[in-house]
């Protein structure tokens, strides 16, 4: 059974694309067949983060319009054989995304992939609602910062009302991924703590990704941080998150992490 996962947030720039790339690569690294779809029509970036920008020929909109076959638009990753990318269109706008069109693409992807990871655009409009529409699992990416938390709350409301799962009486599986976390600043009381965000949003925590320059380096070279630097704290956080998504009963600890807080929250997250 394949699963559709949406990476969403409401607020822009919190790390959705970074997360979609890192997590997809980690899942594929475990041997799963993964397709990662860029829904940010008009502002595509996933191709760049994954280092595939020079290989884009067709995109999601071409497939929706019938101008290209899905197999022609999918770009196979050069490093991980089981990973493919479906880029967004750079020249068209979000109106080119239609509900039926997206539906057709997702259904077709389900036939050949274990995971379909949808990288949502920011906001709560068409692009974002269509990206979450077919999701079985939602990853709410949040920064420990007041406006990001508020927007995440809004997005959780939409996940519970506007997705196919919710409309047919089901429960969409939701997880919180706290990113750009700075332990030092949180412990000094300058930044919301993991527990604060968990208390407020009350969805289960999948992982905490530290603020890390390795993420920027990874984007510079066009390689997800889980591939370019799997031993880094951010890389390990994403790899553990991927394993937990797959159902592994892992605490949030990373074996060689220098970050004490990961250990501290291990117990709570497992509960």
């Amino acid at each position: 059974m394949s699963k559709v996962l949406v990476v969403t947030s409401g607020k822009g720039g919190v790390g959705k694309t970074t997360t979609a790339a890192a997590l997809s690569a980690a899942l594929a690294g475990e041997g799963k067949k993964v397709a990662v779809v860029d829904f940010d029509v008009g502002l595509r970036n996933l191709d760049l983060i994954m280092g595939a920008e020079r290989r884009v020929v067709f995109d999601l909109i071409d497939v929706i319009n019938g101008d290209a076959k899905l197999s022609q638009a999918l770009i196979k990753d050069k490093r991980i054989e089981t990973l493919s990318l479906l880029p967004a269109s750079q020249t068209r706008d979000k109106d080119a995304l239609t509900e039926d069109g997206v539906n057709g693409v997702i259904e077709e992807l389900k036939k050949s992939f274990d995971w379909i990871v949808c990288d949502s655009p920011a906001g709560i409009e068409r692009g974002a609602t269509l990206a979450m529409r077919h999701a079985d699992v939602a990853l709410v990416v949040t920064n420990p910062e007041i406006s990001s938390v508020r927007d995440s709350d809004r997005i959780i409301g939409l996940l519970d009302s506007k997705t196919l799962k919710a409309e047919t009486g089901g429960d969409i599986e939701k997880h919180l991924l706290l990113t750009r976390y700075d332990t030092r600043r949180a412990s000094r009381g300058e930044m919301l703590k993991v527990e604060d965000v968990l208390d407020i949003l009350s969805i289960p925590l999948l992982g905490v990704v530290p603020e890390s320059e390795d993420v920027l380096k990874a984007s510079n070279v066009g390689s997800p941080v889980t591939v370019s630097n799997p031993q880094s704290a951010a890389g390990m956080a994403y790899i553990t998150a991927a394993k937990r998504l797959e159902g592994a009963d892992l605490p949030l600890t990373a074996p060689t992490s220098r970050f004490g807080f990961l250990k501290f929250f291990g117990r709570r997250a497992a509960a």
Partner: protein, 87 residues
């Protein structure tokens, strides 16, 4: 002064948490929306306009969402009442 600055800085995250908790409690229950305020404004005005004339331009409406109580403040300038002196 330095120490005070330091203490103030330490305490900013709890302030953020409290503000969020209050705000989201309202947003989730739907009481934070402008639609409700507009509806209240119209209905209250209609009742008052039955008895005295009201200039819709001279109505101020304020909402202060707090915990545990919130207030809705309406300030309506009315004409056609005898002045306090004359009464």
């Amino acid at each position: 002064m330095k120490i005070l600055d330091f203490l103030m800085r330490r305490s900013s995250a709890p302030v953020a948490r409290d503000r969020l908790q209050i705000l989201l409690a309202h947003e989730r229950s739907g009481t934070g929306n402008a639609e409700l305020i507009n509806q209240l404004r119209e209905e209250v005005l209609a009742v008052i306009a039955k008895h005295v004339s009201v200039d819709p331009e001279k109505v101020q409406i304020k909402m202060d969402r707090g915990s545990p109580i919130s207030t809705l403040e309406l300030e309506i300038e009315i004409s056609g009442l005898p002045s306090a002196k004359a009464a």
